[in-house]
């Protein structure tokens, strides 16, 4: 059945449409100092039960995966129980596989990443840990593979993380051997893969492809030694400096669990994010 537009969309409908359109444009033009409290109050009130539901759902998924893993470990242990030496070897191996949390000690808060449907989700993500658990703005957020981003805003039970893909993200980086320093920022993607670029590298310095890039600790926000990514190409050069493409260690769209470093600003975490220890994740 086809109905005429004039029959269905009245002046009242058009008026509401124009008003909501105008309100949307006003919302877009709000400065961060005005829009953050609005977004924060929505997350603390209307969205709070839904975020709790999503957090529980993600925990359930993790629990199932952990259950399967425990079952597999139990079966392995049953097989190995015949020989004590086998159990000792297994014990040593499991100790070696202890995760990032053990290496970090106590200065972290674990959290789930509560992904949303919007295409801009990888730029800022909401995590299930907030100020009640000690999360503060500007705290680094890491996955076992490396840096995800920085906490930009906190509420009681949740926090907003500006990931490295956010256009406003900047970090001081260095080669893993400390020989080269540069500024890391998001780069336009190639084939849908989000990359970082490291600029400000002196022209005379050549960075081999495959070099691991870590945070340098300069600037006082990010501690030294968190893995950021690996150099995969050159993005250009001027008379004074070169810019390199860096494949980030952590894909923000795929990461599900993170740790917020609450007391690591002056620490050196190079040993924590060393390649061997990353591979040793269970």
């Amino acid at each position: 059945m086809a109905l005429g537009a004039d029959r269905y969309a009245t002046r009242g409908d058009t008026f509401v449409f124009v008003v909501t359109l105008a309100l949307s444009l006003v919302a877009m033009s709000l400065p961060p100092t005005s829009r953050d409290p609005i977004a924060s109050s929505l997350r603390r009130t209307v969205l709070w039960p839904f975020l709790q539901l999503q957090s529980r759902s993600d925990q359930l998924r993790t629990s199932r995966a952990a259950y399967v893993e425990v079952e597999a470990q139990r079966d392995s242990a049953t097989l190995a129980a015949g020989e004590l030496s086998e159990i000792r070897a297994e014990n040593n191996r499991l100790r070696a596989l202890l995760g990032l949390g053990t290496r970090l000690g106590s200065g972290f808060v674990p959290a789930e990443v509560l992904h949303q449907a919007a295409p801009t989700d990888p730029l800022t993500v909401v995590i299930s840990a907030g100020s009640k658990r000690g999360v503060r703005p500007l705290a680094p957020v890491v996955a076992p593979e490396g840096l995800l981003g920085i906490v930009s805003h906190t509420e009681d039970a949740t926090s907003v993380v500006a990931t490295w893909a956010n256009p406003e993200f900047r970090a001081s980086g260095m080669a893993s051997d400390g020989s080269v320093f540069g500024i890391l920022a998001p780069h336009d993607s190639k084939g849908g893969v989000w990359l970082l670029e490291m600029s400000g590298v002196p022209y005379r310095t050549h960075v081999p492809f495959g070099t691991r890039i870590l945070t340098s600790g300069l600037g006082g926000v990010l501690p030294r030694g968190i893995a950021i990514g690996t150099v995969v190409g050159s993005a250009g050069e001027t008379e004074w400096d070169r810019t390199y493409l860096v494949r980030p260690a952590v894909p923000p769209g795929a990461v599900t669990h993170v740790m917020v470093l609450t007391n690591a600003r002056n620490e050196d975490l190079r040993a924590t994010f060393a390649p061997d220890s990353t591979k040793a994740q269970p």
Binding site: M1, A9, L42
Partner: protein
């Protein structure tokens, strides 16, 4: 709308909102998993007036913006436009047909994402191309399939009658 019908309709809407925050993250890649919240909005717009749909779109968009603050306001703009156009187009062109509704869900998802990425200004170059022509269509397809499944399951509950609103 009779009271019983109304309750059943809102039950389906609430179910979709619940699925968004409980099941969606289990359905694989976040970029292409069906958007149940948008599906709830489009389902609402099928049987509502364009003005009501625009207002509902604005609210859904604002909620979406609160969860992805990188594009605050852009979600509200995108959902408002999609809500209004969906309701208007439904009245002008549509019959109560399963495939046509599937097309509406696909087009609504793609248009929402297109407006969102363009209005947010955070995408450019190949990122923008991939978002518009790869990820958004794929999300549109999965959302359309989820919408068709919902209509098949709840068809008697969601019977759309043009004159009712």
């Amino acid at each position: 709308m009779r009271r019983g019908e109304s309750l059943r309709f809102w039950f389906v809407i609430a179910l979709l909102v619940g699925l968004q925050f409980s099941v969606r993250s289990h359905l694989g890649d976040e970029r292409i998993a069906p958007d149940f919240l948008l599906l709830a909005l489009l389902t609402y717009t099928i049987r509502s007036r364009p003005g009501q749909s625009a207002a509902a779109g604005f609210i859904v968009g604002l909620i979406s913006d609160a969860l992805t603050p990188a594009s605050f306001g852009a979600g509200a703009l995108a959902h408002t436009i999609v809500g209004y156009l969906s309701s208007w187009a439904k009245a002008v062109f549509f019959a109560d047909n399963l495939l046509v509704n599937g097309g509406l869900f696909f087009a609504g998802t793609w248009l929402r994402n297109a407006i969102l990425v363009l209005a947010s200004g955070k995408f450019s170059g190949q990122q923008l191309t991939w978002e518009l022509f790869v990820w958004s269509p794929l999300e549109g397809v999965t959302t359309a399939f989820a919408g068709i499944a919902m209509l098949v399951i709840f068809r008697s509950w969601l019977a759309v009658r043009m004159g009712e609103s």
